[in-house]
Amino acid sequence: MNVKSIYQEVILDHNRKPRNYGSLSGPTHHATGHNPLCGDRIDLDVNILDGRIEEIAFRGESCAICKASSSMMTNAVKGKSREEAETLIQEFREMLMSREDKDLDHLGRLKVLAGIRDLPTRVKCAILPWHTLHAAMNSTGDATTEADDHSNKLVANNH
């Protein structure tokens, strides 16, 4: 799928109508993700009950790729256990970082974002919400995607 069609068919839908957009009152977990490269900044609220993500909401200012990825992520992890969510974070990262064509069916709808790996400077935008979720679940409060990438400058934890 070329870049223009990724925009037209997937990203714009979630950009216009982001799912789970907003905030939770008194979330059990929260983190902020920041990507100064494009000015993306998202806040993620999560309610974890008995080790399971009961509720999740995000908000912030970001590019369309980051917003779509956030929106799709919240749909994908809602109802999942922490362990399942961590596995999905890992798999999503691998999908965007690896150059190999692996079977992506287990990622469900998320696999439409795989084409973003052809836009190296935008991979960060797609991964930011996932790092933010990892940070929230581990209660570090900040998300950094710095360790992922050696070609792009990115600091995702200064606020």
Binding site: N2, V3, K4, Y7, Q8, L12, N15, P36, L37, C38, G39, D40, R41, E61, S62, C63, A64, I65, L119, R122, C125
Partner: protein
């Protein structure tokens, strides 16, 4: 300097305008295709492209002239030294410096500013002193001074700008007091393109006995600069933004100031004698050129200066101004698009935002059309904060760009809007 000052005779302007394809042909890279679309390179403020004459010079140097300079008595070392020093003289003439020793080769503008911070700032700026910078500065003319301020307990004062992206000179005057020790100003804003009235501002600083450093990285490629006429104390720019190679730039400094400064880097070539008891530093400019410099790049910089002077900076300024007017008119009328910093005295840079579309998405989609623009905060976050935007898209033009390419940009912007419609 106003664009109008740089205007040349209509006949010379005609030559440039009608002969633009001739200059384009000097740049091999402009023929490449991006996904089968012709490259439209509008990221010249980040780095310009290199003409064949400079590429040839680098190859010739590397094939027939290379050795280390200022060291050996052999043929190649003499030749390389001559070429390197001849490049320094070209730069001296290019900016109208009084003496060649006032031109120091550095690795670029950032390096030059750091040199002044360490060589001048750390020696002369003390606790409680004040440094004036403008809101238009690139991070490279902010961060070194913040580091110094933190180390010395000095204070940074900031000159505000107006909504058009112009420096407020009357506010600048108010910032001076008995503690003011240094002024750092950009000649042209990299993010917006606005040209500051630096000659007047330098005169104001001098009335208070304060030296001024001018960051000319975005001015030297586009405007005729004369450091004696400006009376600036330091002026700096980089080769790679003006048809030269990366890794080299110059710092101009008035000889007496450079002599009063401490060295920035220690090493070979910057000394006249070394013993473990005492080292005597070399004279300027060598005092500030420790180690083996980027010899090939400096010589290539000289070739780039030859190339630009052959076209003429006046002719370049005039043609680029025409491109700026053409592009501004077209972009201004697109509904939902806003130019940030839309003021009359600008080089050919257009920073813009599109309603509801993040600049990074704009850049990605324009790239699909072969159009290269810069998106982001342009290493000038204070300007972004001033205009309350996280980022902008920036199209920056050179004399090898054409109106046809501007038409492609305008069509590209409209097509991005269609994708998001």
């Amino acid at each position: 300097m106003k664009i109008a000052d740089a205007l040349i005779s209509p006949s010379a302007q005609q030559t440039v305008t009608s002969g633009i394809e001739r200059f384009r042909a000097d740049f091999p890279i402009l023929n490449i295709k991006v996904d089968d679309k012709p490259l439209v390179y509008l990221d010249n403020a980040a780095s310009s492209q290199m003409p064949q004459a400079v590429i040839d010079c680098l190859v010739r140097y590397q094939k027939t002239q290379h050795a280390n300079i200022h060291r050996a008595v052999h043929y190649l070392s003499n030749l390389a030294t001559q070429e390197y020093e001849s490049a320094r003289c070209k730069l001296q003439n290019f900016i109208g410096a009084r003496e060649a020793r006032e031109v120091i080769f550095t690795s670029g503008t950032t390096d030059s500013i750091n040199l002044v911070m360490h060589g001048y700032g750390r020696k002369f700026i003390r606790n409680g002193d004040e440094i004036i910078l403008s809101e238009l500065e690139h991070h490279s003319n902010i961060v070194p001074w913040q580091m110094l301020a933190e180390e010395k307990g000095a204070r940074i004062r900031v000159i505000p700008i107006n909504d058009a992206g112009e420096i407020l000179v009357e506010e600048y005057e108010k910032l001076f007091n008995s503690k003011t020790r240094f002024v750092g100003l950009t000649h042209v804003s990299n993010a917006l393109g606005s040209i500051s009235p630096i000659k007047h501002m330098i005169a104001i600083a001098h009335q208070h006995g304060v030296p001024v450093l001018i960051d000319g990285a975005q001015a030297a490629p586009h405007l005729k600069v004369n450091v004696q006429d400006l009376d600036c104390d330091f002026y700096t720019f980089s080769a790679h933004k003006m048809c030269g190679p990366t890794g080299v730039g110059i710092l101009y400094g008035k000889a007496d100031l450079l002599e009063s400064m401490q060295p920035f880097k220690g090493g070979g070539d910057m000394i006249s004698s070394v013993s473990f008891e005492k080292t005597t530093y070399n004279e300027i400019p060598y005092k500030f050129e420790a180690g083996t410099p980027p010899i090939a790049a400096a010589i290539g910089f000289g070739a780039a200066i030859d190339y630009l002077e052959q076209i003429g900076l006046g002719a370049i300024a005039s043609y680029e101004h025409e491109l700026l007017l053409y592009a501004s008119e077209q972009i201004r009328i697109i509904p939902g698009v806003k130019i940030i910093g839309d003021c009359p005295h600008k080089v050919a840079v257009i920073s813009f935002v599109i309603d509801g579309i993040h600049p990074h998405d704009v850049g990605t989609l324009l790239n699909q059309e072969g159009i290269a623009v810069r998106t982001g905060h342009h290493c000038a976050q204070p300007i972004m904060q001033r205009f309350n935007v996280a980022a902008t898209s920036r199209a920056s033009f050179s004399f090898y760009n054409t109106k046809k390419e501007i038409d492609a940009l305008v069509a590209g912007i409209r097509s991005v809007q269609k994708v998001f419609a």
